[in-house]
């Protein structure tokens, strides 16, 4: 197959070769281009010509050089050794490169020479099928890597299984199907990244994701296995928020995909995560995390790969029966990458030059999230979930006018919208309580009620309503005051305004640098909401100046109480003080 055209990262090859019949070619087939073996993919076929999208810079390529097709779609290798790794957008392990990324170099995410201790859980003669867990590898102290029969294998019986030390390429067992055919099972398997991994059944969402961020867990809950997006202009703390979620969310596995964003931020994760401790076990966070560093300077075509490879890894760990959090920062960069490529292909542009299929594409990607009955796990009822939280960076900060952001808000059930105003006032996380919404409050309201009752926090949703009410009222009066001035409104309205402000600054505002304030457990959160709801009741109705002085004082004390380890005592002390003062 000879190259006939090179235009930036678009490479056209002639499938006909030297006068013979055309080489068969598959849409989205993986290809290697030129003497440097640049990785690419078939993105269009026209007659005897195929358009390849090179994932790497094409400098040095010549017309007449060879390209080869691999016979399969873009795949990723899955197996022990992924956890703790930092991968690029195509699944190469970055630790295998020098100071600069050399083109044409492929570094498998799995160490081929490392021997893993495999503990067989199945025995010879056991019935098994695609997805069945046949043994485990203790990959890190936090993750037991469950070795599964590859998804597309048929029903059959296990043969030749033995515990022992194996590399990912060694055969650890065989699956014998009804006709007596043997299929090899290894510690690793491959999966095409654009194809969702199959499941036994999709389940209704029934639990709440505990992120530790109060404005999410309280006012805008995300269900375990659900979807959320966090659009925000630059400087509103989008990435910080994703980092915080990666650190504090109570899930088994975190997959963090840095997609077309700053390298500096990835470096922070790469350096910080090994030092940060998992709050429950005290082990390094990296022992349950996989990072993808597809930075903005890397070739644009690999960007799309990154969110697909990330989702595939997430599904793989979900299939083991784990709760996975897939964080992506940012989906906008992915959409822009698509726009760049679409323009180069000369496709008819949709709104703001994005291709017409962009929205459907993002929806399909979001739909890879969910809570599932795992394939092959119906006997043991193995349930796993993948929750997706994707950041977006709307062009011009224009949330309403940015096609990728609108596509994401339409699909994701929770929209957590970051506000420049709150960020400028240094109120973090800068989610705008009035703009954010969680559709789960409607669609999963029964599940939510049951969940909080089971946790022993029965008034949770009532508290949430009271707190949201205070914010909405406070904001309404604030806008009135902007027109009428402080004197133009009644004292009792001013009190509502102050309560709204207290919630904004004392409840929604969280200090990520304080160990007690940065991630709030459900119990602490409940106590805090209870405190605020009481405060609304007992805050004295007086003249504006006295109320404001008291509120300033309280806010100071609330902030200190938020930092305190013994929160019950601290909040009670404030309530006592207000009650005494009110007498």
């Amino acid at each position: 197959m000879k190259i006939v055209m090179v235009d930036d990262n678009l490479v056209v090859v002639d499938l006909k070769g030297m006068g013979g019949k055309g080489v068969p070619c598959m849409m989205n087939e993986e290809a290697f281009i030129g003497p440097m073996n640049l990785r690419g993919e078939v993105i269009r076929v026209r007659g005897t010509h195929a358009d390849l999208q090179a994932y790497e810079d094409t400098t040095g390529l010549m017309v007449g050089q060879d390209a080869t097709l691999t016979g399969h779609l873009l795949e990723v290798e899955l197996g022990p050794g992924l956890i703790g790794g930092t991968l690029d957008g195509l699944g190469n392990m970055l630790a295998g490169y020098g100071d600069f990324l050399s083109r044409g170099m492929i570094v498998s995410p799995l160490d081929r020479s490392k021997k893993w201790k495999f503990e067989a859980k199945a025995k010879d003669g056991d019935a098994a099928t695609g997805g069945s867990v046949i043994g485990v590898v203790h990959e890190t102290p936090l993750v037991e890597h469950r070795i599964m029969v590859p998804p597309l294998f048929p029903d059959g019986k296990i043969e030749g299984i033995k515990s022992g030390e194996y590399t990912v390429d060694d055969v650890i067992a065989n699956l014998v199907d009804a006709e007596g055919r043997l299929r090899e099972i290894k510690l690793m398997q491959r999966w095409p990244v654009r194809v969702p991994r199959p499941v036994s059944a999709r389940l209704a969402l029934s639990e709440v994701l505990n992120t530790g961020v109060r404005i999410i867990d309280g006012l805008n809950p995300v269900m375990l296995g659900g979807t959320a997006c966090t659009p925000g202009d630059f400087g509103t703390g989008k990435t910080m928020c994703q980092h915080d979620l990666a650190r504090h969310t109570k899930v088994k596995i975190v997959i963090y995909v840095g997609c077309g964003e700053r390298a500096g931020e990835m470096v922070e994760l790469i350096h910080e995560f090994p030092k940060l401790k998992d709050p429950e076990t005290g082990r390094p966070l990296m022992e349950r995390t996989v990072l993808f560093a597809n930075t903005s300077a890397m070739p644009v075509a690999a960007r799309e790969g990154s969110i697909m490879v990330g989702a595939t890894l997430g599904e793989y760990f979900r299939d083991m029966g784990y709760d996975v959090l897939l964080l992506t920062d940012s989906l906008s960069r992915q959409a822009q990458g698509m726009r760049e490529m679409s323009g180069r292909l000369g496709e008819i542009p949709g709104p703001q030059a994005f291709p017409a299929y962009m929205s459907a594409y993002l929806t399909r990607w979001f739909e890879r999230a969910g809570k599932v009955l795992c394939l092959g796990g119906s006997k043991e009822r193995r349930v796993g979930s993948m929750t997706t939280v994707a950041a977006l960076s709307p062009d011009g900060g224009d949330i309403a006018g940015d096609p990728p952001t609108q596509a994401a808000i339409q699909t994701a059930k929770v929209a957590l919208i970051l506000s420049r105003k709150r960020a400028a006032a240094r109120l973090f996380p800068a989610f705008d309580p009035l703009e954010c919404h969680s559709k789960y409050l409607d669609t999963s309201s029964e599940a939510l009620t049951r969940f909080f009752e089971k946790k022993g926090l029965p008034l949770w949703l009532d508290y949430v309503r009271a707190i949201r009410g205070a914010v909405v009222e406070g904001d309404r009066i604030k806008s009135q005051m902007e027109i009428l001035g402080e004197r133009g409104i009644a004292d009792f309205e001013y009190r509502k305004y102050l309560m709204g402000e207290t919630v904004q600054k004392g409840y929604l505002n969280q200090n990520t640098f304080d160990e007690n304030d940065r991630a709030t457990s459900l119990e602490r959160h409940y106590a805090m909401m209870k405190f605020f709801v009481h405060l609304f009741d007992i805050f004295p109705q007086k003249d504006k100046t006295s109320m404001r002085r008291l509120q300033e004082e309280l806010l100071f004390e609330i902030t200190q109480a938020n930092y305190a380890a013994d929160y019950e005592k601290a909040y009670q002390a404030i309530l006592n003080k207000v009650q005494e003062g009110g007498r």
Partner: protein, 437 residues
């Protein structure tokens, strides 16, 4: 392998087409005899598309073209580039001899994120509005936004002259001028003379080729990268990045690419990222590259496509309005890496408190402008604070050490009552200089 060819079949703006050529590679450097340089941007069959760096006025259809067999390169020598001025193809423009040194590619490779070190150490500019609330960390990239009609050359000159790193570490400055006006060029030549021992310039003038302009940021960064690998901390200051984006639009349109937003090409984000992402900290004993890019923003509207994409790529921003940093919009994303860790523990809290108090005061001023009288004593203190903050802290024409910057902030915070400052009590008690009511 050198290939010589003597026939140009298509001339379309700066894009020249040569037909019947084989053995030419993407990105290859071509020499147009007696004319200038060109770069191969597309190859279709035996047709080669070149982008002439000097445009196409005067290019003949019989032009003799030599394909050099290697990608576009520049000469580098750490010993002899300081105090020198180069043009957009990396050749001297100061009437001094060519640099003898190693050949380096103009656009470097992508740094492996795993090999980047965390930002460490900061660059002190002496300007309180930067060093205090928006400390620039080594390896950071940050734009200065300004109105197209506003001249911030004095501020840039100050940064070039005053910038320093702590201790004995080696420090140098690379200045990139993109589409500089002649008058500006003369101004910056003088600045260079003051700091010649540690400064190098790469300049493309406003009346020169916009295609060469596209190289300027990369040449600056390639120089800086080499110096950093050798252990220096390098500050790259470039002005004006809007002219870069405009040049990119011009060239992209000439190539017939479909425009994306506001007429700018669809790969504007990726292109800007390829520049700004060259900011790096390699980790000791090697050095770092820090980038400050000046970016004109029409109407000071940060949602303007160039400013907006730059905002997403860079690590913060420093908008200037009427000679003063617009502190409410300023942000240094990386400052947390050094503030309170390498600087005084009160650094973070006092600067946050000052900025937040200033925000309050601005809201009060709005009330005043609408005709309401401010009577509350705390509100009056806020307004007084804001006046002082604007007159003493925000002006850019200063050169203070970081310690003095912070002391100044505490002095101003003394105008406000302790309880509204929202600072941890220990720090407040130790530093607050006001009088208790």
């Amino acid at each position: 392998m050198k290939i010589v060819y003597c026939d140009i079949v298509n001339i379309d703006g700066p894009i020249l087409q040569v037909r019947g050529v084989t053995g030419v590679s993407m990105g290859e450097e071509a020499l147009l005899e007696g004319y200038g340089m060109a770069k191969v941007v597309k190859i279709q069959g035996d047709t080669v598309f070149m982008q002439s760096l000097q445009g196409s006025m005067g290019v003949k259809t019989t032009q003799r073209t030599e394909f050099t067999g290697h990608p576009f390169e520049i000469s580098f020598n750490p010993e002899s580039i300081m105090g020198r001025v180069f043009n957009g193809i990396g050749r001297p423009r100061d009437a001094r001899p060519e640099i003898e040194g190693i050949k380096i590619p103009v656009e470097g490779a992508v740094v492996n994120p795993m090999r980047r070190a965390m930002g460490q150490g900061y660059i002190e500019t002496g300007i309180p509005a930067i060093d205090g609330p928006n400390t620039i960390v080594r390896g950071q990239k940050i734009p200065i936004y300004k109105l197209p009609g506003e001249d911030v050359n004095d501020i840039i000159a100050r940064i070039i002259r005053q910038a320093r790193v702590a201790g004995q570490e080696q420090f140098s400055v690379v200045f990139g001028g993109l589409g500089l006006l002649n008058e500006e060029y003369i101004f910056f030549r003088e600045v260079l003379e003051d700091a010649a021992a540690r400064t190098v310039m790469v300049v493309n003038l406003g009346n020169e080729s916009p295609i060469e302009r596209l190289n300027v940021p990369h040449i600056c960064c390639s120089f800086a990268e080499q110096l950093a690998l050798a252990g220096q901390h390098v500050l790259v200051v470039m002005t004006d990045m809007l002219r870069y984006a405009d040049a990119l639009m011009e060239v992209s349109n000439a190539q017939g690419k479909i425009p994306s937003r506001d007429g700018y090409p669809g790969d504007l984000y990726s292109r800007l990222a390829r520049i700004y992402e060259r900011a790096v900290n390699f980790g000791a004993p090697r050095g770092s590259v820090t980038i400050i890019g000046v970016n004109s923003v029409p109407d000071n509207d940060l949602s303007h496509i160039v400013a907006n994409l730059t905002g997403y790529i860079t690590e913060g921003q420093l908008p200037v309005e009427r000679g003063r940093f617009d502190i409410m919009k300023c942000l240094s994303r990386l400052k947390g890496l050094v503030v309170g860790k390498e600087t005084r523990t009160d650094h973070g809290p006092i600067m946050d408190a000052c900025v937040s108090a200033y925000a309050n005061a601005l809201a009060l001023r709005e009330q005043q402008e609408m005709g309401f009288t401010i009577t509350d004593e705390v509100d009056i203190a806020y307004l007084k604070f804001a006046d002082q903050f604007e007159n003493r802290f925000l002006p850019a024409d200063q050169d203070l050490t970081l310690d003095r910057t912070l002391d100044l902030a505490w002095e101003l915070a003394g105008i406000l009552p302790k309880r509204v400052l929202r600072i941890k009590k220990e720090i407040l008690d130790a530093r607050w200089k006001g009088k208790e009511a």
